[in-house]
């Protein structure tokens, strides 16, 4: 997805029309997401359309903050013990077996999911602190 973003961004970086850029970026994002999900997420459930629309709209409004948060995430990950960091990234690796990663961590799958959730919350809190320190 990043590769496409770069190619397209080169063209649209020239545009001063931010609205057009945003409409277009969402169009690309939607298509890329759907293409990606076509193979991977057929059996997943999704939020009701009205909720999706609100969330998507509000996401776009805070895109600057979200972008900064993603940048802060790397430093927050670095603050974790190496073992935890490795385990988190292993859980997110493409085509990974969550049973296998859970087993390696010595947890049941359910317990591993709970641990992963706690780690996400901790990372989220960390990024919020970073952003607050930066005045965002």
């Amino acid at each position: 997805m990043q590769g496409v973003a770069l190619v397209l961004w080169r063209k649209f970086a020239e545009l001063d029309d931010a609205d057009h850029f945003r409409r277009w970026a969402f169009g690309v994002a939607k298509h890329e997401a759907l293409a990606w999900l076509r193979d991977k997420a057929r059996d997943r459930v999704v939020l009701a359309e009205d909720v999706l629309q609100i969330v998507a709209r509000e996401s776009a409004k805070v895109e600057k903050r979200l972008s900064a948060q993603r940048e802060a995430l790397e430093s927050c990950l670095d603050k974790l013990p190496a073992e935890q960091r490795t385990m988190i990234l292993a859980a997110y690796s493409p085509d990974v077996s969550i049973q296998k990663v859970a087993g390696q961590s010595g947890r049941t799958v359910a317990a591993f999911y709970q641990w992963l959730h706690r780690m996400r919350v901790r990372l989220l809190d960390c990024t919020r602190q970073v952003l607050q320190a930066e005045g965002l």
């Binding site: 770069l6 169009g27 994002a29 939607k30 759907l34 997943r44 939020l47 999706l52 969330v55």
Partner: protein, 513 residues
Amino acid sequence: MSESTELRSLFANYASGEITSDQLQILEAALREDAILRQAFIEYLNIDSALGDLAALTESEVAEIEREAATVTSAKSLPNAVTGTRNGRRLQVLLAILTIAATLLVGATWWIGRPVNRSFDPVATLITDVDARLQREGQAWRERDLTVGSYELQRGLLHLQFSGGVTVYLEAPARFDAVSARKVVLHSGRLSAHVPPEGVGFTVETPEAEVVDFGTEFSVDVEGGASEVHVFDGLVRVNPGASNQRDASRSVDVQASQAVRITDGVAEPENISIATDRFIRNFEEPRLNYVRAVKRLLPLAHYRMPIRDRGLVSEPPEYSGVVLTGVGKRPPHAQGVFVGGSLRVGADSTGRGGRVDSPPALNTGQFSLTAFVYLEAPTQSGMVATNWNGERGNFAVFLNENGMLQAAVRSNDGDVNFVAGSSSLSLKTWRHFVVTASGEQLQLYEDGKLTASAPSASIAASDSDTVWFGTNAKATQVWDGRIDELALFNRALIAEEIAALYHTAQEEIARSQ
């Protein structure tokens, strides 16, 4: 309440796809009501998708992205440092939007990707057609809505609207399947698509490739075991191979002014030159500067050769004529010298051309004719325009035996005077020409310059002799190519006017490509 542990755990279940329908309903209800919870949800998903990206990227990919960003930012920042900063920010914003959207849409395929198109659901609407004969599953199809099915466009042109504001031009002969509001399978023929941002993802599948659009204007030509993709604006992704043999790693992104050919059985797409004049990409004839320039010269009649079903349109309308549709593989229209159409004659057809039965009177002793011509194949004696028929008529413009443009006028003293150009016409290239008869000189201008001149008395009067475009009255001299923007005058244009006209044309051509 907003960030209660219980609701936060539902975030996790949603992100992992493990949420139950009861839990989903609770989450939806809470998100509908609570803006702070939504903010927390968005940030949680942001972290989740960012972790996914970090885990998925190899070190070399991370390096490549950083290198690309640095290259573009530094290139942009040379003339203006602010621009570079903005672009860097835009990259971040774009990446964020892409990943957020990916996360939010998890599961959307479950909803959107289902085969919702039943055979009677319309997937496209006809905007307009030009002399079209369309069949669906072997039966004539006359509805405005196209439903899912296999179609054959046997004659003429179609302009269709799909979802997301996508519009498609199809030229006969073509065979295609309307699969959904966002997908067409083109088995053979030519298609041009305009895709606004809302239509991104519109897909044209061919026997040799899948063409996915990312907000652009592109054309596809499928013939004889090969597919060509020509991109006029924006960007498309081409996935080579038949539908069951595609390998994403062989995909190529084709940008504006680029074109590729994918041949059956050949693994790699081949880069080719873009064909700016092959595809019909617009039925409209915009009010161009060239048209205004012609109008200022006060023509008797101006034939813009629009792609219309109602004949050979003139300005003013009383001098309109008919397009002789004849019989041919392709329609009697083609891409014109500017945006819009032109009259297509000869080539793969017979009986084609234009005829005006009530033309303006040419009786002042002076005359001018301006037009663009485009030659498809080497030919002799092809006619551009004439009202000559036996003893009647007073002008003709045609190719001579050397492949040069030649003009003939009949003088009021009964003589016939000729003037011929200095160079043969290049194939598949537009040439602007003007013939003027002042009562003293017969002159030919090509691409704005005087190329030939001969003495000639005032031309004989012609009040109502039928004018033919692309053919003579007996259909023995037929043009092989296109004719566009033809105008008739009852005075001799002067060199300055002609040079200015040509200059305007050049500007217009540059703008329309």
